[in-house]
């Protein structure tokens, strides 16, 4: 518990210095949203309908940048190894990092929403519920993403490897988050929101526990 | 080519043939590649052992 607290304060310090990086990723996500509309064409009706999907695609694409970056400073001077030798438990280090990534991705998602509303003329009837869905979806990206980033940051051709490993894995997150967002934005006459949120919750629960268990085998020799 | 009769899907042998041929080619191809790579590795080892002896 103490270790987790220490890990969280470490992440807080690192995030303060990395604010510029978060901004750059945000610009990347915004550019992606803009480009999607060019790919689809100036069809307002169609854009409004697929807005939830485009939002999550933009978030997914930018998440790989955030995730990869989060281990850059850990591996540069082997700071992570130094903490393991103190000793800090791998689980505490993992959950600290995963929580920090989750926070950043949620923030990113929240900041992309107004842009989506403006670009695609999407309606936003339940903003708080949407925040909840974004938080759950971001948690689903962050848990396996943090683990894989720890691996790929030490491998050759890491830029390709992280999405290659992560994207197939988070198909359920993408499906459930897009569905839930769409139901929130376009109305939910059949009451279908609940099972999708539950699916997101189940994915998060499984991956947050499993990846925490396995992280030690990734960072320890 | 296909005659609609009693709701039975008729014809379609070209799909069946394609499926069997592709399955055969991929399975046989993979089997050959594994055997070939294994043999090549064994041969490489033998060459290396010979070179070390001389």
């Amino acid at each position: 518990m103490n270790g987790l607290l220490a890990a969280l304060r470490k992440e807080l310090l690192l995030q303060q210095r990395g604010a510029a990086q978060l901004f750059a990723v945000l610009v990347f996500g915004a550019t992606a949203l803009l480009l999607f509309s060019f790919a689809v064409g100036p069809n307002a009706e169609l854009l409004r309908r697929i807005a939830p999907g485009l939002l999550w695609l933009a978030l997914l694409l930018s998440s790989t940048l955030t995730l990869a970056e989060s281990f850059q400073s850990e591996m540069e001077m082997k700071a992570l190894e130094g903490q393991l030798l103190l000793p800090a438990s791998p689980a505490a280090l993992y959950y600290g990092k995963a929580l920090s990534n989750w926070l950043q991705l949620t923030l990113l998602g929240v900041l992309l929403v107004p842009l989506m509303v403006a670009l695609y003329d999407a309606s936003l009837p339940r903003p708080l519920a949407l925040l909840g869905v974004i938080a759950l979806g971001a948690a689903g990206l962050s848990a396996p993403g943090t683990l894989y980033a720890a691996m790929t940051q030490q491998a050759r051709s890491r830029q390709t490897l992280l999405p290659l490993l992560l994207f197939p894995l988070v198909v359920p997150v993408l499906i459930a988050a897009v569905k839930a967002t769409a139901l929130l934005m376009h109305g939910d006459p059949m009451g279908q929101l609940r099972p999708w949120v539950q699916l997101l919750g189940a994915f998060d629960a499984i991956h947050w526990s499993l990846c925490g268990l396995l992280f030690g085998r990734v960072v320890e020799d | 080519m296909s005659e609609m009769g009693s709701g039975v899907l008729s014809g379609g042998w070209e799909y069946v043939t394609a499926a069997y041929v592709i399955s055969g080619v991929i399975l046989a191809g993979y089997a050959v590649s594994v055997v070939w790579r294994y043999r090549a590795e064994l041969a490489r080892r033998r060459r290396e052992a010979d070179r070390q002896r001389t």
């Binding site: 290659l164 197939p168 499993l210 990846c211 085998r217 | 499926a19 399975l27």
Partner: protein, 228 residues
Amino acid sequence: MPYAFLALGGVLLLAGSYIGLFVAPEERYMGDVYRIMYVHVPTAWNALLAFTTAFVCALAFLWKHDFRWDARHEAAVEGGVVLSGLLCIQGAIWAKPTWGVYWDWDPRLTTTAVMFFAFIGILALRRFVDDPVKRASWSAVSTIIAYVDVPIVYFSVRWWNSLHQMQSSPETVSAPFIIPLRTNAFGVLFLLIGLITLRARLALLRLENELAPPLPASRTALSAEGSR
């Protein structure tokens, strides 16, 4: 030994396919097209079996730290990738005459495609990591996560595509349908066993080439008790 499995698997596959193509009767609704099932279903079973084997080998490696499990793991992942790739192609060929499109977002087929990409990613990871120890642990960890992910993917795709749910499986209860199906299933199984064994041997040979030869028997008594 593995060659015997390969030969047996090949013979069974030829026999099963012959029965399935020319002896077994037409199916009531699907006519002749259903005959694809005799290769499709055995491929599906064995693809799942290969990934399950990979999962077990990954657990065993993390538990035992023995590189023989890493070699088997690599072999099983590769076999599973080949079979699941084949499965997607077969599924697409079957979907065209039955549904009119090559890809129908059928939950089983889509899950197979996701698995195919997930495990291809693991093969790529193995390519890009030079240290054998890290490569083995990392790919084992990835296999465990990917395998646990499979049921979640399946359910999410099923709910997602619940609008047109037509899991039309041909009737396979009566004997003339069962015989070619089982023959081919065992055919692919034996082929898979032979290929995984051979591929694991190859992986072990390559591993021995990457790792320094084991040290000559040590002089100190305590040194027999190593970590791996």
